[in-house]
């Protein structure tokens, strides 16, 4: 059998020569995750992290390694099932998750969002993920994380809705006021509804305060 003229776009360098020896494969990218010094300074709103991602900040194209990033994301969440999370304490899961997001930016969010929103995920892990991503100080993924936290308010799981509420409290962005108001109206659990109201009051107190960082243009 002869397969002539079969177009092969993959693995052909996107340049005009064969000079490059850099192998931009996911294995190498993942090494960056492991080498990222995730926490340099930690308090509620100032986790500063170096960014090693390779995609342009303003890009909307999907990563060429999105499938592999999906596997990496699944691996991070699968490893979290055995962990016990304590309020305010960092965990292996939170470290891995934040490192992943900071390293791969939007592509990482594209990979983790379907997992967190999936009905199949362990709700305690999903809740912890939402709490954690609200702490992250990373402008590149800010709007993706805000979107995910707002979306988490629609979860069928009260635990996940609780995690989203805490995440939004940590993010402290008045942009979440309307989604939270809507969530308060829908919320059937009194204690959680009260928590949401508390966050709502917090955000309304910040309504006229828009920090330059949150509003910076890319």
């Amino acid at each position: 059998m002869t397969l002539r003229d079969t177009p092969s776009k993959r693995n052909i360098p996107q340049t005009d020569s064969n000079a490059a020896t850099d192998n931009l494969l996911a294995e190498n990218l993942f090494k960056n995750v492991q080498s990222v010094p995730v926490y340099q300074d930690i308090d509620a709103h100032t986790i500063k992290i170096k960014y090693y991602g390779r995609t342009a900040e303003s890009s909307t194209s999907r990563s060429a390694v999105s499938g592999l990033l999906g596997k990496q994301a699944n691996s991070i969440f699968a490893g979290a099932k055995e962990e016990i999370f304590e309020d305010g304490m960092e965990s292996d899961f939170s470290r891995n998750l934040l490192g992943f997001i900071v390293s791969f930016g939007h592509s990482a969010m594209d990979a983790i969002i379907p997992i967190i929103l999936s009905d199949l995920i362990n709700t305690e892990v999903a809740s912890e993920a939402l709490r954690v991503i609200g702490h992250l100080n990373d402008n590149t993924t800010y709007r993706d994380r805000l979107w995910l936290l707002e979306r988490g308010l629609y979860s069928a799981s009260a635990r996940v809705r609780d995690g989203a509420t805490i995440g939004l409290a940590n993010l402290n962005d008045p942009l979440a006021i309307e989604p939270l108001k809507s969530a308060v109206e829908r919320e059937p659990i009194i204690e959680l509804r009260d928590d949401m109201k508390q966050v709502l009051y917090q955000l309304e107190g910040n309504k006229n305060v828009i920090t330059p960082k949150k509003d910076s243009q890319k």
Binding site: T2, P7, S17, P179, Q217, K218
Partner: protein, 252 residues
């Protein structure tokens, strides 16, 4: 080949792919099951569903062009791509592809969810005879770059030049991300024989092209949803900005 001194007409470029990416707002709960039928008017040829990931992909041909509709919770992508099963590596004239694409997108805006962000992406190519002529052509589009067309290779220039929207004048910025390069492409064939222990590659032809990747998108920093009744206008603005870059090059 003689040195190219001028910029090309928009229609001279070939489209390798076109993409529209729509980012739904967080409060929108949508059912995408019938989107393909609603915009194309017939059932898709193939559908892939990964329930665990919340992923659905419908694909088929519209007027001979391959269209893919890929839906994830955070984004919906419409793609126009070459018929790879027929060995195509481009979808043809960018203008023709665009006209067909715009019709589909416009229909979807009427049935789709509220959006917080919108993007128009395209990969355009123009065949050249040599790296030198490719660099000379790129040089005409990149006034801020001094290109040595004979002593260099592997040139890649990526830049974002954001600009304020003229449709939504209240602080909507539009990212104008472009990537310029010269691409060498090869067609690789394999001979497989029952008698041969290993497959052998067949000698391949190589072509060179100027390559322009455009990713024109509304900024993620825009606070709020894009007005539903302005989606067509915003999208047309993204397309017009793409055309401006293609015809005028990397300008502020």
């Amino acid at each position: 080949m003689s040195t190219v001194q001028i910029k090309l007409d928009f229609a001279a470029w070939q489209a390798e792919s076109l993409r529209v990416t729509c980012f739904p707002s967080s409060g929108t709960d949508f059912n995408s099951k019938n989107w393909w039928f609603d915009v194309v008017g017939e059932q898709p040829e193939n559908t892939i569903i990964r329930a665990k990931d919340g992923f659905r992909q419908d694909e088929g041909h519209v007027n001979g062009r391959k269209i893919v509709l890929a839906i994830q919770p955070i984004r919906t992508d419409f793609l126009m791509i070459p018929n790879d099963e027929e060995g195509e590596i481009a979808i043809g004239s960018v203008q023709d592809g665009l006209d067909a694409f715009l019709t589909i997108i416009s229909r979807w805006f009427n049935i789709g969810p509220s959006l917080r962000r919108l993007a128009f992406g395209s990969v355009l190519v123009f065949p050249v005879e040599s790296r030198k002529s490719g660099y000379e052509l790129l040089g005409n589009y990149l006034p801020n770059v001094k290109l040595d067309s004979e002593g260099t290779s592997d040139f890649l220039y990526q830049i974002n030049r954001p600009r304020a929207s003229k449709v939504i004048t209240s602080d909507l910025m539009i990212n104008r991300l472009t990537k310029w390069s010269v691409l060498k492409r090869g067609l690789v064939g394999f001979e497989l024989s029952p008698d041969a222990a290993l497959a052998t590659t067949v000698s391949s032809s190589e072509t060179l092209s100027c390559r322009l990747e455009l990713d024109i998108n509304t900024s993620p920093d825009y606070r709020g949803d894009l007005p539903q009744d302005k989606l067509n206008e915003i999208f047309n603005e993204l397309v017009d900005l793409s055309k401006e870059i293609v015809s005028q090059g990397d300008i502020p």
